[in-house]
């Protein structure tokens, strides 16, 4: 099996893999940007210690 080696994903076609991958990428980017990068002061102050501790650029 060369096309479906991703564990837990089971047998997926190339287009299914790419579509699912793109979906997860958007989801991941939104979560990481929301906690690490959002400019809104509520997001910044709520996640302040997380940002400093993970080395995200902070004020």
């Amino acid at each position: 099996m060369t096309t479906a080696t991703v564990s837990a994903a089971g047998p997926l076609s190339v287009s299914q893999r790419l579509l699912l991958g793109a979906l997860f990428l958007v989801l991941g980017a939104v979560f990481v940007a929301g906690t690490g990068f959002a400019g809104d002061y509520r997001a910044h102050n709520g996640a302040h210690d997380t940002r400093h501790s993970m080395g995200f650029p902070c004020h």
Partner: protein
Amino acid sequence: MFRNLFFAALIAALCAGLATSIIQHFRLIPLIVAAESYEGEAPHDHGEQTVAPHSHDEGEWMPADGFERTAFTVAANLLMAAGFAFVITAISLIFNLPVTPQTGLAWGIGGFIAFSLAPALGLPPGLPGMPVAETGARQIWWVFAAVSTALGLLAIAKWRTWWALALAAILIVLPHAAGAPRPPLEETGVPAGLAASFASAVLANGLVFWVVLGVSYGVLTSRFSRRVS
């Protein structure tokens, strides 16, 4: 399919988010709180010269110290961990590179190099109150360093040929050749010892976070797939 990967990512994020929360509680947040007591002492002498505006303006909402602040930090850690777990899932699917209990460690170390070590080389992890360059420019460089390094490591993992190694070397060196935004040379009230302790603790914290995330995700995805099939 989506459900298996989604839940494996969420549970792995829970493990890594809690691991980093514990390290932060004992080794990082005490340093942040100590630095905050110095914040605003020296830099304010410079008046208009301060490049980065201090974000702790009066009247702005922020979680109250104590339980509320800890709760927000743990929540933010879990959300961030979920985000990075989704990114691992996405890359694994797009590049068709499986995350297994065996490869989980390599994924974790790769994540650490791309998202902690490479950005920290140009932008040393800093405490509140330390002089920094403009936030937007630093954020752009951080993302540039992380993405470029990640793509370099992926090229090696995917192809393992001499040209992939050459491509990886270029991608990994590029952000540092371009150079990160430099902080203004200003005095700060934050003691140097505190800042040095913080920088190394951030890197150790990053390594633990990423290794726990990669290994637990590898174990969970393989377990979930076995149960389904």
